[in-house]
Symmetry: C2
Subunit: 135 residues, 2 copies
């Protein structure tokens, strides 16, 4: 089984296309109506080379994942995108109207600095940007 | 921006590890506690080579995406995994206790045959398996 795509439900395709293009820094490469499913779809290259699934369970103090589980139950929680320079990307996104959930990167799994964006500013998707820490 | 990972919130990491290993046919390759976030994480290779983001908007008749938007609002909807033989994979998954939402593959975007699995059987994640149609 090879990850093929991540489906994101949107109400207004034109507005979502524009938003995700601003987030990723690239335009969708095609649109397609799927009459059988009563949908219109739009595709973006996710830029994945060796993407992972990360299962995240509460451990220790009551944190955001426990709160999420209490409210929504288990399921897909966030999408994470690797960037070369997290502080430069945070500045670019903030200047473009995306709402950062933190002013400074924090330490995530996998030896990465991470920063989350508020789903209200990203079409309902909790987005993490991350950068591998230089040793 | 390059897709790095998809985060999935789970309540019980051991049970979820076992479930996702059965789904993907491979074991997690590492576990890691992130004390700063009060979580323990587990990583699976997603097998992505050229993964996409697929935005999905309602079009035409009232279908499942419109119903999803009405109930949950916009956001991450499903994860899709490409397989070589969708009917063989459907049989394998059904025999292993995963609940298929359809008995026959249907026609999806991108010239694919698709089949969805009930999130109740996959830890809260709506999973699509898909196979490119042979011409």
């Amino acid at each position: 089984m090879r990850l093929d795509h991540i489906g994101i439900a949107v109400a207004d395709l034109k507005a979502a296309d524009e938003l995700i293009a601003r987030l990723l820094g690239r335009a969708p490469y095609k649109q397609e109506v799927v009459a059988e499913q009563s949908v219109i779809t739009s595709f973006f290259d996710a830029g994945a080379q060796d993407a992972k699934l990360e299962l995240v369970a509460p451990e220790g103090a009551r944190g955001p994942i426990q709160k999420y589980l209490d409210k929504r139950g288990p399921g897909i929680h966030h999408l994470a995108f690797e960037v070369d320079d997290i502080r430069a990307e945070m500045a670019r996104l903030a200047a473009d109207g995306f709402q950062l959930l933190q002013e400074e990167p924090s330490l995530g799994a996998d030896n990465k600095l991470v920063c989350f964006l508020h789903p209200k500013s990203t079409g309902g998707v909790l987005v993490e940007i991350c950068q591998t820490r230089k040793s």
